[in-house]
Amino acid sequence: MHELSLCQNLIDQLTDLTNTHHAVAVARVEVQVGVLSGVEAQLLQSAFTLARAGTVADAAELITEVTTPRVSCRWCGAESDTPPNNLCCLACDSFDTQLIRGHELILARVELVKNEPLTL
């Protein structure tokens, strides 16, 4: 259940961003959650609802994009989409692979609300 503490960190970052950009609130947040990141997207969503109360993100929408594992084989060079508990190369069965997607935990996009007309 560390999703709540992650959300509190996220709120801190959003507060900093809001101040830096002289914005008044956060409208939308997009987070990428790899299935091997150790964070559960659904729990992150419920924790965010608790953590955002009374902050600049009070009315913010959280979008979580779940990414699945993809490995690159150091032996044969092939790339494969694999299940989280079998990261072997699908082409040659080697377990000498590198995870190239699926364990990220990334704040990808933030949309801030500004109390002034946009100058384009």
């Binding site: 259940m1 560390h2 503490s5 992650l6 960190n9 996220l10 801190d12 970052q13 961003l17 830096t20 950009h21 914005a23 008044v24 609130a25 409208a27 987070v31 990428q32 790899g34 091997l36 990141s37 150790g38 964070v39 009315a59 990414t67 993809r70 490995v71 989280p84 508990n85 079998n86 990261l87 072997c88 377990f95 000498d96 692979t97 590198q98 995870l99 190239i100 997607r101 699926g102 364990h103 990220e104 935990l105 990334i106 704040l107 990808a108 996009r109 933030v110 949309e111 801030l112 609300v113 500004k114 109390n115 002034e116 007309p117 946009l118 384009l120």
Partner: protein, 282 residues
């Protein structure tokens, strides 16, 4: 460095940079901002690691289920290393000083962190615990994490190596069930092997195969803290890690757990920041 050379980009996040980050019709503005939801923790972890490196203290994070024998392993280790290497221990539990008391009974400094309800240790808790230990008097620091195969894996504490215990009473498919945790291992220790004759359903080979399926080439050792079998191999691993660590320190480098050095390549491109006028949010 990653944010400069772009090596942090993966197939999963590359599309975020397209269209290119420039101010466009949507009013989006490029910004360089620290992110990664764990950045707050990771920053403290880097400070902790620098502090440990300044004193040359190899720090090992022990993780496992509750009751797999972490404290017993430490007791056996302390007995063997007495007079050879100076050991300190940070204990993490939800409640009680029981584990720290067991360590102190062997004459080794121990600090107990009681987390209340938290299921893992994080870099800030370790920062506070380091204040309670005289690091100049230590060669190896063990952090016995909260017994849990889920959350502790996600937090860099500033340590150098992750050792994960799998006791033979737990079942040999644990690496397949908890891939995030076992992928973090720099060493997998199969513990309580004295019980193997009573548990024919546990196959150490199958446990190792499950670990290899996580694309992990790290060593596995078999050990019984009670009988002493395999303890010598563990001590040999520790000594080799300590030698490697000291060599790195001499070259002004440090050691990070395998999963952390891999993670640095993937985490955190700067988030795209876009703006919306106040009126359109009503």
């Amino acid at each position: 460095m990653c944010n400069t050379c772009g090596c942090n980009l993966s197939d999963g996040n590359r599309h975020l940079l397209s269209p290119p980050l420039n101010r466009g019709a949507s009013g989006s503005t490029p910004e360089k901002i620290l992110n990664g939801l764990l950045e707050h923790n990771d920053r403290q972890a880097r400070i902790n690691r620098a502090r440990l490196d300044a004193q040359g203290v190899l720090t090992i994070n022990l993780m496992s289920s509750p009751g797999s024998g972490k404290t017993s392993l430490l007791e056996a280790t302390i007995r063997v290393l007495e007079g050879r290497l100076r050991i300190g221990v940070i204990e993490g539990d939800l409640e009680t000083e029981n584990d720290a008391d067991r360590i102190r009974a062997l004459g080794v400094p121990a600090h107990q962190i009681t987390t209340g309800t938290a299921c893992h240790l994080d870099a800030h808790l370790i920062h506070g615990a380091l204040d309670q230990l005289d690091l100049a008097q230590l060669d190896i620091l063990f952090i016995e994490n909260v017994g849990n195969l889920v959350c502790p894996a996600s937090f860099d504490l500033g340590h150098h190596r992750n050792v994960i215990l799998l006791s033979v009473t737990e079942g040999d498919d644990k690496p397949a069930k908890y891939p995030v945790m076992f992928r973090a291992a720099d060493l997998m220790l199969i513990s309580k092997t004295d019980l193997l004759p009573y548990l024919p359903e546990f196959s150490p080979d199958r446990a190792e195969r499950c670990l290899r399926h996580l694309a992990s080439m790290v060593p596995t050792l078999h050990l019984s803290a009670r009988s002493g079998a395999g303890v010598a191999d563990w001590i040999e691993w520790l000594a080799a890690e300590r030698d490697g660590y000291c060599e790195l320190l001499n070259r002004h480098q440090t050691l990070t757990p395998r999963v952390e050095s891999e993670g640095r390549k993937l985490h955190a491109p700067s988030p795209r920041i876009t703006f919306r006028p106040l009126a359109s949010t009503s």
